[in-house]
Each structure stands twice: as C-alpha cells, then as structure tokens.
C-alpha cells in the first residue's frame, strides 16, 4: 500500500527566512506531497502569514526558496521566471481578507477573474455558489466572513486549482461553517493529485483531517511531519507535587505547578524514566502548542 511513495511533491519550502525590524523568520523547511492536507500551526505572530506570503510570491524571502509543483519528470525543461509565475494560476488562495474589490458582486468577481485562469469552469462556479447559497448580486463587502471564505473557495475550486493555500480560513467562523469548510477540504483531497496547506490556530479543525503538520513558534520551525507521529511522540502527564525528582522534572515540557499538583508534557520515550503513578494520556494539538510555547519561554 505505497500510497505515500507514488506521489510527487506539490510544494517544497527550503530554508526560508525573512528579516523584519521587529520579527525574524528562520529556516522554515517542509515538503507537502500530492494528495494530502497539511496543517500549518502556531500561535498568532509565529510567522504563518509571512511564510504563506513567501510561498505565494507576495513577499521576497531573504533566504531559502520555494518550489511549486516540482516536476517528477527529470527531462522537463528547467524553470524560468515565467514558468515559475505561471504555476501560480494552479494555486487556489483563500486569505483572511479576500483579494477582490469589495464593491464587486459575486457574479462580477467570476466574470473579472475568469479570463486569467486557463482552466476556468463557469458551470462549476454556478454549482458552488448555489451550493453555498451565495447570491450572485451581493457585493463582497455585504457578505459575512464565512460567506467570503466560501466565495474564495468557490473561485479556487472553479479554476481547478491543484494546491489550496488557506490562511486562517476558519477563524471567526461558527462551528457549522467551520465544519462545512473542513468537509470541502476532505472532498478536495479525495483527488490524489491535490493538496491543501491550511494555516490556523483553531487546531480542532486539524485534529482529524490533517495528514501532516508544520508547527512554528516565534519564527522558528518546531516540527514538520505526519500529524500522528507528532501526537504519538508526546504524552500529557500530571501528578502530585512531590512525585518528581528535579532530574525527572527537567524532562517535563511546559511544566506548570499548582497548589495540589503539576501538569505538562513529555516525550513518550521518556515515560519509563518517570514514576508509574503519574496520570498519562494522549496529548491534544492545543495542549501540545501550549506546552511547547511554555517550554520555549522557560528555556529562554
């Protein structure tokens, strides 16, 4: 069952770095294979949007490079700036704020954008807007945030994008709208040639649907790989205050002591070095981010 090995890379990010006066992004490195969903997680201000903008070519990274739709065919002609740019029309973009004129109507947006996409499918667009209950005569600024996200998705799906890049698509949405979007993403990757890169700080959305995770903290990459591996690598532990020796306490990431006990997380491989009476349970993504963040702060 080599579902993993048969596919090519849809996105390769190597050593990406960007310097700003108040913020630095360092050495972001990850691969996204065809046919999978990658969650891009980290607290606000960790550098998620900067990375996404670098991938989209909206900003120029100071270090590293981004390769889109890497050709598996070794005989393919080498990249030129034009061929590199042309690949952008194979990306569907969903940004926090849509990149359309806010006075355009839904209908107008489709009409204006269609000529720029070689594979625009107007029938599909009509299907999506009726499925999402988007009225074609409403102006963009009159749509709710959830509707704006769905409109961007409708555009992305109607031009047959091979890679969907979403920047915080579910923030500020109600549970119903979030579920609809997650469902749509699952539907999208049921085609094994399509992939999704999905940045969010609402990790509940990713807990189930994401195949891979890239996790950044303060502009640095903490993890990139399969979600299951990450969640199995760590265990949440809790116990009494005098359960741990100082050496054992040093193994706890994001250690927090309170009047009647402590909690934190440790590497599953360190578990046998800890006393057996501790409570241990699988860690959730949210807990993982919090403990990692605390751990980082404690070490700094």
């Amino acid at each position: 069952m080599n579902d993993l090995s048969e596919t090519g890379l849809i996105l390769k990010v190597q050593g990406l770095g960007k310097h700003y006066p108040s913020f630095d992004l360092h050495d972001i490195d990850f691969d996204l294979p065809q046919g999978y969903i990658m969650g891009f997680i980290g607290p606000n201000g960790a550098g998620k949007t900067t990375t996404i903008k670098s991938i989209l070519g909206l900003i120029r990274p100071d270090q590293g490079q981004v390769t889109l739709f890497a050709s598996i065919n070794p005989a393919a002609p080498p990249e030129t700036p034009q061929s590199c740019l042309a690949k952008h029309s194979r990306i569907g973009v969903v940004m926090d704020r849509p990149l359309y004129n806010e006075d355009w109507t839904v209908r107008q947006i489709a009409r204006v954008l269609a000529p720029f996409y070689p594979k625009w499918d107007d029938q599909k667009f009509q299907q999506y807007i009726s499925r999402f209950a988007l009225s074609p005569d409403k102006k963009l600024k009159e749509l709710s945030r959830g509707m704006q996200v769905k409109l961007q998705l409708a555009v992305a799906l109607s031009h047959h994008a091979d890679l969907l890049i979403l920047d915080e698509p579910t923030s500020g949405l109600d549970p119903v709208a979030r579920d609809e979007i997650c469902d749509l993403l699952c539907e999208f990757v049921s085609d094994p040639h399509k992939s999704v890169l999905f940045s969010t700080h609402i990790t509940a959305d990713l807990e189930k649907i994401a195949d891979y995770l890239t996790f950044i903290l303060n502009g640095r990459m903490v993890y990139s790989g399969s979600k299951d591996d990450l969640l199995e690598k760590y265990v949440r532990v809790a116990g009494g205050l005098d359960d741990l020796t100082p050496q054992q306490q040093a193994l706890i990431i994001g250690y927090r002591a309170y009047s009647s006990g402590f909690e934190g997380m440790c590497l599953a491989s360190h578990l046998q070095q800890l006393p057996r009476q501790l409570l241990t349970e699988p860690v959730t993504l949210d807990e993982l981010i919090v403990y990692m963040h605390k751990g980082e702060a404690q070490h700094a």
Binding site: K53, I59, R60, P81, Q82, N101
Partner: protein, 225 residues
C-alpha cells in the same frame, strides 16, 4: 499580450462600481459649468482632463484598499504587465475624457459664440497640444510615485507636480525681457505650424511616458504586498 488586454479590462472592472451615472453627470456638469462661466473652451477642456486624472488614480486607491496588488500576483500576472497595463489604462482614460470633453465643449460652442471663438482661434492647435502635453507630463511624474509608494503615501507626493506647474507659470511671468521675446517668437512659429506642434507634443508625451514606465517598473518590482 492577452494578459495585457485582460489586465486593462480588470482595471476598468475595478473602477466600474465607482463609475456610476451620478458621478459621470457630476463630472459633465462641472465641465459645462466651467466652460460656460469662463466662456473659454480650453479652460473647460482642462477641467475635464483634470477630473479624468482623478479617475485614473482610482485603480491605485482601490487596489491599495482591497490589496489588489496581491491579487495580480495570485493571477500569475508579471509585474511588467501590471505596469504597462496600468499605463495603457491611463492613456485610454485620457483619450476617453479628451474626446468627451471636446464633444461637450463643441456642443456648447454651438450655442455660445464666445466659446466658439475660443475653440476656433488660430492658436488652438498650440493650445490643445500644450494642454495635453502638460497633463501627460504631470501623469508621467505621478504614476511612478504611485507604483513606488502606493496610493495613500503617494497622494501627497502626487501633488508635487502641481507645485512644479505653478512654479513654472510664475517663472514664465517673470522672465527677463530677452527671453520672453524669443519665447514669444517660438510660440508664434508653433502657432503657424499646428501639425508640427501636435506631432512634437505627441513625441514628447510618448518619450516621457516610456521613461516614466521604465522607472515605475523598477520601483514596482521592489514592492511587497
């Protein structure tokens, strides 16, 4: 080439929601009002062109508000296409307002002999040429500023060309007598040769725009969105 045409279409679509009948009527009313009160076709025409210039800045203003520059990148438009497309759009807008302004003034001249007189005066070729030349030079200065700084930051810088213009006019009024004389004779020669004048103006416009677009592209390539 197709991308260029599509981009110009995109620019027109960008300003379309703001190009309501009401705005057009207001612009036309101002143009008619100015022409009637001054009874001078050239001043009326200048007023129309002036308003055209405001329209031409709309894609920059809206583009900045809605982050359309980022949209152009996601639509796989090269920056050179954006710059040349925007210049083409501006030229088309200029042409459109010029034609509309001329039509309006021409229509008014049918009813008001003074306006007719100003429109048909022997110096009209020179007057029209210099009006167009002035406006186009102003735009050639303004556009790279928009491309470099974006709309809101460049708006102040955009006023700079007007200051230059006022300064120039003031300077012309206070030229030494000898220079004024030679200038007058040059103007007389140009008045006698309207076709040559128009061609020279056109050439000057073309060259200044080419140079301006080159500079704008250098600026725009450095922008991040």
């Amino acid at each position: 080439m197709r991308k260029l045409v599509n981009f110009v279409g995109l620019d027109f679509a960008t300003i379309q929601p703001y190009l309501s009948l009401k705005t057009c009527l207001i612009y036309l009313a101002v143009c008619i009002f100015v022409t009637l009160t001054t009874r001078n076709a050239d001043i009326g025409l200048s007023a129309t062109l002036m308003m055209g210039m405001i329209m031409m800045s709309y894609p920059f203003a809206i583009g900045e508000k809605c982050n359309l520059d980022a949209l152009y990148v996601t639509l796989a438009l090269p920056r050179s296409t954006v710059v040349s497309g925007r210049y083409l759009f501006t030229a088309l807008m200029d042409l459109l307002t010029a034609v509309l302004g001329l039509a309006a003034v021409g229509l008014l001249s049918l009813f008001e002999p003074k306006i007719r007189q100003s429109l048909l005066s022997p110096g009209q070729g020179l007057a029209l040429s210099s009006i167009f030349l002035t406006f186009c030079l102003l735009q050639a200065l303004q556009l790279p500023a928009y491309f470099k700084l974006g709309y809101s930051k460049a708006r102040l810088a955009g006023l700079l060309p007007y200051a230059v213009l006022v300064l120039l006019v003031a300077l012309l009024g206070n030229l030494p007598a000898g220079l004024t004389q030679s200038l007058t004779s040059l103007l007389q020669t140009l008045t006698r040769q309207p076709l040559l004048t128009a061609l020279t103006a056109l050439l000057a416009i073309g060259l200044s725009w080419l140079l301006s677009a080159r500079i704008a592209l250098v600026f725009y390539r450095k922008r991040e969105f």
